[in-house]
Symmetry: none
Amino acid sequence: MKLLVVEDDPDLRRQLVTSLSGRGYTVEETGDGEEALYLGREFPYDLAIVDLGLPSLSGVDVIRRWRAEDKEFPILILTARGDWQDKVEGLEAGADDYLVKPFHMEELAARINALLRRAAGHAKPKLSFGPLTIDTVGRVVHRNGEVVSLTSFEYRTFEYLVLNAGKTISKTELTEHLYHQDYDRDSNVLEVFVRRLRQKLDPDQDLQPITTVRGLGYRFDLPVDSDSK
Amino acid sequence: MKLLVVEDDPDLRRQLVTSLSGRGYTVEETGDGEEALYLGREFPYDLAIVDLGLPSLSGVDVIRRWRAEDKEFPILILTARGDWQDKVEGLEAGADDYLVKPFHMEELAARINALLRRAAGHAKPKLSFGPLTIDTVGRVVHRNGEVVSLTSFEYRTFEYLVLNAGKTISKTELTEHLYHQDYDRDSNVLEVFVRRLRQKLDPDQDLQPITTVRGLGYRFDLPVDSDSK
DNA sequence: TGGGCCTTTCAGCTTTATCTCAGCCTGAGT
DNA sequence: ACTCAGGCTGAGATAAAGCTGAAAGGCCCA
């Protein structure tokens, strides 16, 4: 699950990012309206959290323009205590929910959950590939209906591969995504995780969901069942 | 895909090169403005990453002069956190996007992708030729819907030929592109790879996608389907 | 403080992509 | 038709890339 945090106050932003990534979300951040616009336009977020009180391009404008371009991800807006007018404006512009500062992280988390769950109805947070199913909201993987118990790391590795199904993902890209930092070439953690994933997802080795492309990376290759229900 | 990295800080430069080449790009690098100018002028890069804070010839000047000479490759500039103004100047000089240091490699990669995609013809970076399809982002080739399993080298060879479809590419050019440095002319590796490519792409020999031009090189010849949708 | 699980490291092993080589084929120029 | 440089082909060597099992290191929670 990939979130975008748009907040100009560096402290609050850091706090948001820390808390949310601690809860297992992949979080990207910006403090700039223009950049937010760009990011939301180019990348597939599952949800955006937008502070309305941005300098330069205002949060409301950002939202309006995303919506004008048919970006459908849920948007949660943050407003300062007094400014309820902003809130109305924001909702009219296309936001889905709001939260007044200051707030508890718990509450934010709860609303994010609710929004994602609701969005799940429209979108398709559950993907299936033959006997495999991944629920990106619940962060659960099923195999023939049974839960496959994955560790956090295994799950995130798998999720990234699945979300990029059909593409070859280099190990560098994968590790950078998982760790958000440089890739230590002399480690083979990834290989170990891929191995464990393969064992857990496909103990009988009949599906071979993850292909190794020597010299390039890994690729998740099963066809997506279009059971958008 | 060939990128040029222009960055004077040795650490950051190494990091960039490592990460990007790890992601499968062919990367060349320099820390010097003059040299950057020369390289960009002489070689056909698909994209350049330029740090604006260069010593001697400044990044902005390099860009300006490239653009004055009608070099069209996308340019992404890097600026230090504070230097807002530089960014504007850089964009005016002809850069296409910017990123403020420090940044995550993942974000850089995402922007590079977006720029390359945009440059490629606005649509998806997927090209097809009759039964053949190449996805330059996912680094996958399909033939009648089935994945053609190419090795890293085979893929890069094919990609280069495809991106230069219609042009005859000399073996020297190909090898120089594929290997960052000079290459032993007495080897016939290329021929070997071209052979394997032909076998894999066209086992029945009915398409003949790669033509040999005796004494000159190779040419990829299938008409590009304009499936820009 | 101790136990359990998750993550990372390590060393040895297997696989295979790349490159070399030697001989064969082909076609342009005589 | 003959020549010969340029290109093609198949088989094999080799070293890099990836895999594996076990064990060490961390972290969290009781």
